[in-house]
């Protein structure tokens, strides 16, 4: 009998910006692009202020259940910044940083969580998919879109985000497998925030990393510090470039932490310790980028004050627009079911309209 090794795998981890705001290793080119660094920082701050306002709206009965993105800002914003406008994004449901960068409006996000059909209009973002709540289904849509781009010879990439829990779903593996077989222009980002509602990563998988799930599909898998906007931006940019050049799909596991409850309907204190959250808080993404900017004398207290004020103003304007939406038309639930309303639905539509607005 002879035993030989037929394949060997390893997963690399990348991180440049420490929680203290210091750069380590050989940082990517954007580390010396002050304008881009400041744009990334501004968007991360805007997202956090928006997020906090959305939670406040929910707590005061002005919004439905809301899924916070607290702690994920670097991962989400870096993805948006790395993508080209003609690429297409397939979100799960808390990637506001990516969406705002790509032209989705804050008032639309509020309308979605406010139970208003008009929230998914994306009036300035005609390409991207709406939120996918069922978990992992969107990864197949990304693979399908990538297949369309490849068959038509378009230099576009489909980008999707999935959580750590989502990687347990069959659709996730099926999408990676398709992307491997067809060598699709797709980027799969796993935003590993350590918790799938109440289930910690160690109860989700026996894998040492989630990036290694790529290996089974014949794709490269890379781990990055998801709270390091430089590392995420570099990894996603490289994966996009590779996909655009015909080199196929990549999987990037961004290690981050869900600092919030799963949604406003959840209470994370039931299943995780305050100490764990406090430790994670020390590694959160925004403070470390600010410390870098300040150390490089690219950012001052006055800049910070002006930014916070500007973000609060933008969020206030968005909240006002959302609140001015009023009630959606009852006919809305019928009118987009089919391109042309079938006779049987036309009768139901008329009956519903004749009822007048329901209470409650």
């Amino acid at each position: 009998m002879s035993v030989t090794t037929t394949a060997r795998f390893e997963i690399k981890y990348r991180s440049y910006l420490t929680p203290e705001g210091r750069l380590t290793g050989t940082p990517p080119a954007i580390a010396s692009d002050p304008d881009l660094l400041k744009r990334l920082y501004r968007m991360m701050v805007l997202v956090r202020i928006f997020d906090s306002k959305a939670i406040a709206l929910q707590r005061t009965g002005q919004l439905g259940t809301y899924a916070s993105c607290l702690g994920h800002e670097a991962t989400h914003v870096a993805i948006g910044a790395a993508m080209a406008p003609e690429d297409v994004f397939f979100p799960m449901y808390r990637e506001y940083g990516t969406q705002l960068w790509r032209g989705v409006h804050m008032e639309e996000i509020l309308a979605f969580w406010g139970g208003d059909e008009r929230g998914t209009t994306f009036r300035d973002q005609p390409l991207d998919f709406p939120w996918a709540v069922p978990i992992a289904t969107q990864t197949l849509h990304a693979a399908g879109a990538a297949l369309a781009f490849k068959l038509r010879g378009e230099k576009r990439v489909a980008v999707t985000v999935i959580g750590d829990g989502g990687t347990s779903q069959g659709d996730f593996y099926e999408s990676l497998n398709a992307a491997g077989v067809y060598q699709l222009p797709a980027v799969f980002v796993i935003a590993n925030n350590q918790w799938a509602i109440s289930v910690p990563l160690k109860a989700q998988t026996a894998c040492e990393t989630l990036a290694q799930k790529a290996i089974a599909a014949g794709l490269p898998g890379l781990q990055v510090d998801g709270n390091d906007v430089l590392a995420v931006h570099e990894a996603v940019s490289e994966a996009l470039e590779k996909a655009r050049g015909g080199g196929g799909a990549s999987v990037i596991e961004a290690l981050t932490y869900r600092l919030s409850d799963h949604t406003t309907a959840d209470d994370a204190r039931r299943y995780r310790s305050a100490t764990e959250v406090e430790d994670a808080q020390k590694k959160e993404p925004i403070g470390r980028l600010r410390r870098l900017l300040v150390a490089r004398q690219l950012w001052s207290d006055q800049d910070e004050e002006a930014l916070v004020q500007d973000c609060q103003r933008q969020v206030d304007v968005a909240v006002q627009s959302y609140q001015a939406y009023g009630r959606p038309a009852c006919s809305d639930m019928f009118d987009y079911t089919f391109a042309e309303l079938p006779e049987s639905l036309r009768a139901q539509r008329e009956a519903a309209l004749a009822e007048g607005p329901a209470r409650g």
């Binding site: 209009t121 849509h141 069959g170 659709d171 077989v181 079911t337």
Partner: protein, 326 residues
């Protein structure tokens, strides 16, 4: 013009769609090099190339999910599910995304895909190959469900399904795949998806059915005419969702008697839906209770019992007698 079987008519329609519309792409398990396990896609990869006719990995949710992504990006994917009992993994993708993407983007994105699948029993197939699951899909908003019952309608309805701007689940009755031949002109003409087809006119009772059961239903109508001078109107539902009730109501208004025949299990089958709608809208025009002749509420049996499960001509005839002499 050559006569073709139903499965050949499907092949003809797929070839026509591939030739006429560069957005059309076929995908499925074993559909390329092998030409499909039922031969529905025979020769198509050879003719149109592997970029138009794609063999996929073995994963049905993936097939549906890929088709959704492709369709939303402007293609016209026609996906094949290999056997009827293998369609269930697609349900999540179909109900949660295919049927609702237009609504969830207020018309910004849509899913003009076709999910083709074989349907029904009667060909001595192994387990999970003989299911009639159209009701599951007919219950999904935003999705059309279509089932042809002849080569001509297979050709025209499949072209219509491919051209339709919304998702269509297209069930192909395997028992009819090679049962008989018809002259089918390859003229690229679709048939309408918003109307039933009156296959036989009659004034004494109305028989409504779809797919393979129309074979037995038409046989029954012929028997009644020849042996009892009873003229039965036979309606092929064609599009199972949304249903064209006007044609059925018009017929029942004349006959006052309705029998619905389907192979799928009885409870929550489409027969119940049709019976309820006709009762609501035309009860006082009925001369007799509406009768359903259906498969039983049992696990689709192995093939030695499949003909005991499927409605027989005898059962349909008894139902006809019941409504004629209540």
């Amino acid at each position: 013009m050559a006569k073709v079987t139903l499965v050949e008519a499907v092949n003809l329609a797929l070839a026509r769609a591939l030739a006429d519309d560069p957005r059309v792409v076929l995908l499925g398990e074993d559909i390329g090099v092998n030409g499909g396990v039922f031969r529905a896609t025979a020769g198509l990869q050879e003719r149109f190339g592997p970029a138009r006719v794609l063999d996929t990995p073995l994963a049905e949710s993936m097939i549906a999910g890929l088709a959704i992504g492709m369709a939303a990006m402007g293609m016209r994917p026609v996906a094949e599910i290999q056997f009827s009992g293998f369609i269930y993994p697609t349900i999540d993708q179909m109900i949660n995304h295919a049927g609702r993407l237009r609504t969830r983007t207020r018309g910004r994105l849509s899913v003009p895909m076709v999910l083709r699948a074989p349907s029904g029993a009667g060909i001595h197939a192994p387990e999970h190959h003989s299911e009639s699951n159209e009701s599951l899909f007919a219950h999904m908003p935003g999705i059309r469900v279509v089932m042809p019952s002849s080569p001509t309608r297979a050709y025209g309805l499949l072209l219509a399904a491919i051209q339709d701007p919304d998702p269509v689940v297209f069930f192909e009755p395997t028992r009819l795949y090679r049962l008989n031949k018809q002259e089918v002109p390859d003229n690229g003409q679709p048939l309408p998806l918003d109307t039933c087809f009156v296959l036989r006119e009659g004034g004494d009772l109305t028989l409504v059915s779809w797919g393979a059961m129309l074979h037995e239903t038409l046989e029954t109508a012929r028997w009644l005419a020849e042996n009892e001078q009873v003229s039965a109107e036979v309606i092929d539902l064609g599009t199972l969702s949304p249903i064209d009730y006007e044609t059925i109501l018009e017929s029942v208004g004349r006959t006052g008697r309705l029998v619905i025949v389907h192979e799928a299990p009885r409870t929550a089958g489409l027969g119940a839906e049709i019976a309820a709608e006709i009762a609501e809208r035309a009860l006082y025009e009925l001369e007799a209770p509406i009768i359903r002749v259906t498969g039983y509420d049992v696990v689709t049996p192995f093939f030695k019992l499949e003909h005991d499960f499927m409605p027989s001509i005898d059962r349909i005839r008894r139902a006809a007698h019941q409504v004629l002499e209540p």
